[in-house]
Structures are given as C-alpha cells and as structure tokens.
Amino acid sequence: MDTLGQIVALSLAVSLSAVLLAALIGLPLGAAIAVGRFPGRRALIVLLNALMGLPPVVVGLLVYLLLSRAGPLGEMGLLFTPPAMVIAQTLLVLPIIAALCRQSVEDAWVEYEEQLRSLGAHGLRAAVTLVWDIRFSLVTVVLAGLGRALAEVGAVIIVGGNIDGVTRVMTTTIALETSKGDLPLALSLGFILISLVILLNAAAHLIKEAAQRRYG
C-alpha cells in the first residue's frame, strides 16, 4: 500500500506532467494572442484572465462527467487513474499559463516590435523569437501554474477517487487524514507540501538570477 514516498512521487508526477502539457499548449497560445490582431481579441483576453480563477472542484466535476462510463469519453476507462488527474490539472493550469504568458509577451512586444519588424520578422517567427528571448521570465509563469497544480485538491479528488496506492496525492491525503481526525499526520504532510513548493520557487529564482548574469 501507500508509502509517503509514493504519495509525494505521484503528486510530482501528476502536477509536473500537467504543467508540461499546459505549457506546451499555453505558451504558444498566449504568445499568439499577444502578438496577433484579430476580431474578438479583447474578449478572448478577458475570458482567458477570468478562467485563471476556475474553481478546481468545478473542473473536477466537468472532467468526471466526461470520463465517467456514462459520459462521452467513458470508453477510454480513464476515470480514477492518474492520467485523469493529469487531464483535470492540465485544464486547470492552462488558462493560468496562457494568460500570464500573454501578459509577459505583450509587455515585451512593446519593446521588441519595431526592431523585429524592421529586420523582417513577422507573426509566428517574431513570436517565437520573443518567447525564446523572455524564456526565463516565463519560468515564473510556469511555476505559478505548478504551484496551483500541486496545491489543488478539488479536481484530483473527484476524478482520481483518492484510491489508496493508485491515485492518492499529498493534498488528497491531507484531506483524508484531516477527515479521519488525524491532524498531526495531516500537518506533517502539509509541511512537506509547503517545503516542496518553497524549494521549487527557490530553484526558479536561482535560475532566473543565473540567467540574468549570463545573458543580461
């Protein structure tokens, strides 16, 4: 059955996978919206910003309805498995990464736009160059997403089922132990979770500083 190491490892695997997927989709999406000009752009930006506040439990419910045997994707048998948790967290984190990336890219675009256009870089090429140039700031964006994923419980508990040995992560274990009245254990897990988040943030900060020194 579950050991502490298993629980922590699963939390990291699920949240890191979700953030990676969300970044693969969200970073280009945010950059495209920042640089592009199309009808409805402003409404899309407002919507994206609003989706940052998606309640995790609502995302959990929606994904549950999708993946349940009675639902459209039931055939895939994904409910109550780690991939279901990855899906739910990806949906949760995607708006955060896309919206924050859009903001960063748009701010940088103001600085770079004229020079890039003068050199003949347009649209996609310009966006890619820009995103790569501000890549270390985007580390902060991705970290915000990771923090959200590691901290949430509403989505993963519904689509994962908090199954002992299979889909139990740090947050759902804390919820379970609290509900069993085992507060000391829940607190210890809570400290581990917080320490993990602090460590990740410290690492990112160091990365940014090192990059600043190297690239200016």
Binding site: V14, I163, G181
Partner: protein, 269 residues
C-alpha cells in the same frame, strides 16, 4: 529540464502499467475505508488472487450512483433498502450480506440533553430535539445518514420539518462530521468502526449504544454486466465470493483496533 522529462515519461509509462495490472474498482463507504478495514483486508485478497482492489470511498448513495453509471465493478455499502432497490432496478446482480456493526450516538461529556448511558436511541433522539441540543448530521445520502433518518422517523419526528438551528447538516463524510461534532460539542450518529479509529474526539464520548435499532448491516453487490458490459465480471465475482467465504469472513472478524473487534461477519453460509 531533463528531470521533468523523466517524470513525464515515468507517469505516461505508468499508464499502460496501470492498465495492464489486474484490478477491479469497488465503490464503498467512508466507514469501511476510514475504519482501516480495507487497509487490513484487501492485501489478503490481493496476495491470494493477484487482483488489485481499488476502493473509491464515497458514501452509500454516491457508491450506488457510481454503480448505476458503470464506474465501479462492485459496490460494498450499508443501506439495505437502497441496495435492494439497486438490484431490483437491474443495476446489481445479487445482494449478499457480508458483515455488521453497530451505530453509536456520540455526544459531549456535558450531555445537555441528558441521554448518556441510555440504551434507547429513539427516546434519546426525542430528548435531543426537545432540548434543542446541537446535532451534527451527515446529510450526504450515506448509509449512516439513511439510518439516522430512519431513527428520527421511528422517534415520530419529521426531521425535515422539525429541524432548527440546533440541527447541523454537514453534508460530509463520517470523519468530517465527527470533526464538526467535536468542534461544536454536538451529538452525532456514527458507526462504531469509524468512531474507534477517530483521533480528534475532543470532549465527545459514547452517549447511547446497544439498541437493537442501531444495528448496521453491510452488503456487497456485483454491478450488473448486462447493464454495463465492460464490468469485470470474473474478477468482481471473485472478490464477492472471497468476502463472503470462510476465509474472508475470518479475516473480517480478526480486524481489531485496541483489542476491540469492529465488524462482525454474517454472510449466509
């Protein structure tokens, strides 16, 4: 970066591993999970058959809903009328009695409704309502909640109409409800198993126990493959068979907390 790639690959690779592993999904109640029974019982079954049992612990009502939707292979709950309806409606193959324990009424040591030490749950509930003493209810369609409602009815109280601010509907599992009761110094109906393993009692003690009406029967049902063809019939049936077999029943009887037995096997054979 490399570390992240490894994690992603590991988790993605785990997917086929999870898929290939032989397992069934059992929808059960918070009382069986949180009392620690499954943590004790399931490894015995898994070692014997190699079938992993994945328990989603929700509550009787939700578990039966899961069975209806086909999201579980077996349901293991404790609300006989609801279970019988589940089978009658065609969602379950057959209901087997597995084990029983009892409910206890817990309450604050200060005992505002003066029910402590009684063996009569119905009178106790009447006194609680009369004194308007705080009472924490599960309110979550669970077996325990169902039993609580039946007891109010037996006491001649229409709780839906009669409840006042003294009646706290927490809408949550046994543990959280006990937490709430502990925090509010309220009475609550709990299954003995969860109570024995509950660690945050505060000033709560057992107020009423031993009434025949506090009897709590558990049943296990295989979800009907006729309704949901993907249900793992053989493995699910193997679990049902084992739980009501001599071996399974002995295992249930041997689960103890602090020397006290929590569940009493009573499968018919």
């Amino acid at each position: 970066m490399g570390l992240v790639v490894k994690f992603v690959l590991a988790s993605l690779l785990c997917t086929p591993v999870y898929a290939q592993q032989r397992f069934i999904t059992v929808a059960s109640t918070t009382s069986t999970e949180q009392s620690g029974l499954f943590k004790y019982l399931l490894p015995l079954f898994e070692n014997k058959t190699g079938i992993q049992v994945r328990v989603v612990a929700l509550g009787t009502g939700q578990s039966l809903d899961m069975g209806r939707r086909g999201d579980a292979d077996v349901v293991f709950v404790h609300a006989k009328p609801l279970e019988e309806k589940f089978v009658a409606d065609g969602f379950g193959v057959q209901r087997f009695e597995v084990m029983y324990n009892d409910f206890v009424l817990v309450g604050p040591k200060s005992d505002p409704a003066k029910v402590g030490g009684s063996k009569d749950i119905v009178t106790a509930l009447q006194k609680i309502r009369g004194a308007q003493a705080p009472f924490a209810s599960r309110g979550d369609k669970s077996g325990t909640h169902f039993a609580e409602l039946e007891l109010w009815q037996a006491a001649g109280i229409d709780i839906a109409k009669d409840k006042g601010p003294w009646y706290r509907d927490t809408g949550s599992g046994m543990g959280p409800t006990l937490n709430t009761a502990s925090g509010m110094n309220a009475y609550a109906l709990a299954d003995r198993g969860t109570w024995l393993s509950f660690k945050n009692r505060g000033a709560l003690v057992i107020s009423v126990e031993g009434d025949r009406r506090l009897f709590n029967q558990y049943g296990v049902i295989l979800v009907n493959p006729a309704k949901h063809p993907h249900v793992k019939r053989e493995m699910g049936q193997a679990f049902v068979d084992w739980v009501i077999s001599l071996e399974g029943q002995n295992a249930i009887a041997s689960y103890k907390i602090g020397g006290e037995q929590l569940f009493f096997p009573n499968a018919a054979n």
